[in-house]
Symmetry: C2
Subunit: 454 residues, 2 copies
């Protein structure tokens, strides 16, 4: 009996191996075999490394990307340049002067003002969170260094960034308006390494930027413990970033040409990175994922709709690439937008924003994703930063493949965003998920048009 069963199973396996083409299923092909996504992440992080927008490194990254995308066989590969204001990092040192002299690990936030070259020393005023800073009397802050703490925790959906990131997004502007000499925040991050998290902050027109830095979590907690001892804390900051004016940045665009004139699907990642890490998670991975998936779809047969890849420039420092794309292409009808910009960990949920008539498409996609461990969410898809402007311009349909963000804010905007953090198996699961979606949506002949905006 046992012998018979085994023989039958073997015969079945053998027959399957002999008759079926290997991985006729493009999704399985992606999951088991893809090397393209890894190759792009490995290449960008090794051969280019950090590629801050507006710098020579970002320009080298564009040249590298064009060569890579052409070599991979994509169509209409091109660079589309634009100009953008550019801020660059200088020296950055933070040092408790008294009563507990020691250095603290700090990094300047994008758009931070500069201290004098010899630094700035002032007393620290502590705030538990952004609300406490907002509520503070200006007299408390005048000439002082505000220190804004918060309690950001790891979340799978990354929602803690929105909830606690305000200390970075708007804290410096508030502190500047209240007359603070400078501000330091607990990094908008979740790891306990001495690698502070940078990221843009913005000052309102007419507000003079003050020096604004982020402390690593161990340093923020050390400063908090010092403050808890009840003595005035004198902190010295030397941070000398500067604005170097308008510089050239650019998008890299490539396509898998469709067989019809149906509006294209635009899929985006961003090519620029912050200067501290090598931008593996943020966002070489996204570029690797969308490109690998588009190529697998192409290999499976020409899709009906063109798939347009937008490797956006200058996302980190103000979404200049996304805005440039939105402006340039606002009059060319698009079918749907997607974006990959949340690391390299596995996709766990799919969200849709589709017209009512496309209910079957959503169901088909959800079914195709289910074997990959991806469930269907209940909220409307929102897109991403770089496809935001074209979505807004055209009220586009959107599909979001939500990645697991549990460890994303351990790495985000830190020196630790390096290749070794990328898990090959999870990266391939992303490629497989994107392949599953693109196979359906790029071959969908129905209308994807949403009602015009109210």
């Amino acid at each position: 009996m046992r012998y018979t069963k085994l023989t039958f199973a073997c015969a079945l396996a053998l027959s399957s191996a002999l008759t079926a083409p290997a991985f006729a299923d493009p999704v399985q092909d992606a999951l088991k075999n893809d090397e393209v996504a890894w190759d792009i992440v490995e290449g960008l992080t090794t051969e280019i490394g950090p590629r801050q927008a507006g710098t020579a490194a970002e320009a080298r990254a564009r040249t590298w990307s064009v060569a890579k995308l052409k070599m991979l066989g994509l169509d209409n590969v091109r660079i589309e340049e634009y100009q953008m204001p550019t801020w660059v990092r200088g020296t950055e040192v933070a040092e408790v002067v008294s009563p507990f002299p020691q250095k603290l690990a700090i990094t300047a936030l994008g758009n931070s003002g500069s201290t004098p070259d010899t630094g700035l020393t002032a007393q620290v005023v502590y705030f538990d969170n952004l609300a406490a800073l907002q509520a503070a009397d200006d007299r408390q802050l005048k000439g002082k260094i505000a220190f804004v703490n918060h309690a950001m925790q790891r979340t799978q959906d990354g929602s803690s960034y929105g909830a606690f990131g305000g200390a970075r997004f708007i804290g410096p502007n508030i502190a500047a308006k209240k007359g603070a000499a400078a501000i330091v925040i607990r990094s908008a991050g979740t790891d306990y390494h001495r690698n502070p998290h940078t990221g843009n902050t913005n000052f309102e027109a007419g507000v003079t930027p003050i020096p604004a830095g982020a402390l690593s979590l161990p340093d923020a907690e050390n400063l908090q413990r010092m403050i808890a001892r009840g003595k005035p804390i004198e902190l010295k900051l030397v941070m000398t970033p500067r604005n170097i004016g308008m510089q050239t940045s650019g998008n890299v665009i490539a396509e898998v040409k469709g067989s019809s004139n149906l509006p294209p699907i635009v899929i985006a990642c961003h090519l620029d990175s912050w200067d501290l890490g090598t931008g593996a998670f943020d966002d070489a991975a996204g570029c690797g994922i969308i490109t690998a998936a588009a190529l697998i779809v192409k290999k499976a047969g020409q899709p009906k709709r063109t798939i347009r890849l937008l490797w956006a420039g200058a996302e980190e420092v103000g979404i200049w690439g996304g805005k440039s794309y939105g402006e340039k292409y606002k009059n060319e009808p698009h079918g749907l937008a997607m974006e990959s910009d949340f690391g390299a960990d596995r996709v766990w949920r799919v969200d849709f924003k589709l017209p009512e008539n496309a209910g079957q498409l959503a169901g088909d996609i959800a079914s195709a994703l289910s074997p990959l461990g991806i469930s269907r969410g209940t909220q409307a898809a929102g897109g991403g930063a770089d496809v935001g402007p074209i979505i807004d311009a055209q009220n586009l349909a959107i599909i979001d493949l939500q990645q697991d963000g549990t460890r994303y804010f351990d790495l985000h905007h830190t020196p630790d965003d390096t290749l070794d953090k990328v898990d090959k198996a999870q990266l391939r699961q992303n490629v497989a998920a994107w392949t599953a979606v693109l196979m359906k949506v790029a071959n969908y002949e129905g209308s994807l048009a949403l009602e015009p905006k109210p």
Copy 2:
């Protein structure tokens, strides 16, 4: 029935609470209640921070320690100074110049030579490990930057440090003798953060020190990937450490006085730390553990033997404190030596080096440690760096409480050695283990003398 049982249990608990003194067992007291060890680690890391030997920070740490140890009620608290040569860090930047320009995270090794202020640029010559460097022809290295890789992995007993640390310990000397312009090594560490591991290296008398730095693991692997592409790699190093001559360092010594004239038990930790982190794991934790345990033993009743605490200075940079102690006290008979200098994670094994007549003592100690999850090892105890000189001078008996080193080399000599890495429960388990040992050994009236050295 159920009511009766509960009543009985409650009555028993109540009776126990009313009649027994709380935690009559000092080991349980340590495990459940100790705050002293944490308080010392928290205080040193917050109020002093990094405390490199020979610097003002180490001097502040001595002052802090004397006040703390007196406040805790220890006897004969004192500083014993000595002079030692002192090396201090300068600028440190590593940058691939071509063909893949980007910065690499580097830190200078202790005793590293200096580059010119404008830096040094040379081609990188790759070696898989120390043996490959040793085997290299001098002509390969002349004027080049040696890059020594290795495959160090996490080990519970820390043995990988000895096995793979040679790239740091002796690699620079070998490279210097072969005519290399400089050397960079993969950090002797096991974590993937952009925080390279420093630590001393040594050049033989007559060998001119060359610039010697450690790359973080992500950076070492990035450089390795660049090299694998087959093109010559030009690396620029700017490292400007300098020797500032003989400086004052010192040991802090305190005692729990014994009731007899039996030779004292010396227990050690080290007060100095490397300059990059705040020295929580290495070795404020050790000082916290031994001190907390000694105080609990004291609270349980005056021990027969004096317990002498050696908070050694200048361990990291050449064991100057341990050598000073060994020289100063070589003629005062000691009973036994112990040391805590392997972080703050739990003790998992006990090793002995005791005279044959003390077999019962070893058995008693092993029994007392067993409930803490500590097993008896089969190798002879070796002591530690700071008690090494006095052990050598007197052929002392030793007990080693081996700590779990699985994550020790994630933190060792990096900026990441900060308070947040210390787990309170594991720290208390250490205090409990030390309490168990000291209760036995400090009250042991038999001879602890080993045979004189052969």
